[in-house]
Amino acid sequence: MTAVMEKAPAVRVVAKRRRRRDWRAIGAFTVLTGPVVLGLGLFKYVAIAWSFLLSFNDARGTITIGHWIGFDNYAFLLGDDAFRTSLTTIALFTVFIVPITFVASLGLAVLVNSIRRGKAFFRTVFLIPAAVSYVVAALVWKMALFNGLPSGVANVLGGLFGADPVPWLSETSPPVYWVAVVTLRLWLQVGLYMILFLAGLKAISPSLYEAGELDGTTKWQAFRYITLPQLRNTSVAVLLLILIAAFQAFDEFYNLFGTGLSGTATAPVKPPLVYLYDSALGDQNYGVGSAGAFLLTVLIVVITLLQGRFVGFGKKD
């Protein structure tokens, strides 16, 4: 009752404000959104427009527009074996990393969620690698875990099972470097996605499981027919986040397979961003660098939309 009576004058105040074409509101809105609008304008809109124009220019060692060459930069990229190889590399990487990270983070979340005592401890342990940068992780992976020496941790562990030492980062047939690349990212990221799944698990009503118990479902059935469908939205978000992050992989490839002379030669593994970095910053060819950025952006947007489509279809089944 009192609530209703209090509402009436407030509504009148709002109505009066409306009529005045509230300049004070417009001023406040401008001040509050100003920094972000200007910042995004400069660093996103202007930058992308400029770069888009550059991609149709011969822009070697310059960022000024004027030497129009049509689609030559795009043609060069698509005809360049190194660029096409980088696309294959990232596709392979995605094929490995997406399902593995998804299953591992879901598994960890279910495991941690089912633990009563020590739950916080295990959650912290699985999350803490997220505090580590890719550079530091690459350092540990390259110089200790997978350094290829007999004293490298992976080879010491392999030795326990009688395996010969493996030069993890330089061996290309078979390409065992994938083990290093995938485990590195898995270690760094799996805790983040575990947190998302834990939040999703927490939101599932316990009454669903109670109903399931009355129907005599097994644990596996409960997971398959209650947990998984209830985690649908979380799963879609997690898949998308893993996929987009995978396509932008740079740090670990740059540091694991860098051209530095750190004693051991490494396999020449370059994803698209490393290729772009080399052509834009190494060769100072901003035209090709820009064209590559656009090709990659289009690729990511298309894949994102396709995945949305694919998942959308699944929903209707």
Binding site: L32, L139, M143, L281
Partner: protein, 277 residues
Amino acid sequence: MAVLTVPRKAPKYVLASVLAVIFLLPFYIMVRNALMTRQQVSSPDWSWLPDPLSWVNFGDLFADASVPMAHSLWNSFLVAIVTAPVGTLFGSMAGYALARINVPGRRAVFTYVLVTLMIPQSVTFVPTFVVVGSLGGVNTEWGIIAPNLFSAFTVILFRNFYLRFPAEIEEAGRLDGLGYLGIYRRLVLPNSGSMIASLGALMFIESWNAFLWPLVIGQDPSSWTAQIALSTFLTAQSVNLPALFAGALVTIAPLVAMFLVAQRFIVSGIAASGLKE
């Protein structure tokens, strides 16, 4: 649930413990190698613990003239300590306006912000380099900081937060004669503490660990962040391995401490950022 007996629970704890050991292994390696002598770390025989403890590696790390580690750590600190609060404040301001101040054109501004989310962040390093470079931001700290102060993602998360913000607080401010900006500054901002802490912590972690952009824009050693210095160290001609691992430890220490102290905020920040629409 109470039916579960101890033996049935045990495998779960065994599995979790084994996984915990695996997850902690790289940390152990870092500490072990950072405290070994150069001979010990490259010895073909495996040893579990450094003997004797070689603390001198930390001194060597900062004494190495080719890698300005101390200055790089300072740069990292500067970048993160500016980016996190300023970026969070900008995000909160815009998020609040988009959620609660109804003016013509609000929808358009929201779309303008939202569209930039579609473009993958790191792919735009070439365009951003073109702009920041032409403004004279190469090899400067502000060049590293500026593009990361404006996060569409943070704006959207704050907008979602303020859409659920209790209207009573604003009404009270209005009755006290506060204008829009006064309400935001005196009532809304002080009541956004948890959200600011969560997203601020994430931004701090992100800028401390950032690699691609600082690498692109900070080519001179004077503008290196700790990540760039470590990466250079890693690919240097003759590597002092124990000092390298000492550098890794020093670089991750602030964030590991933060994860242990402010985990509540970090976890809720991660959870919020995964649930974007």
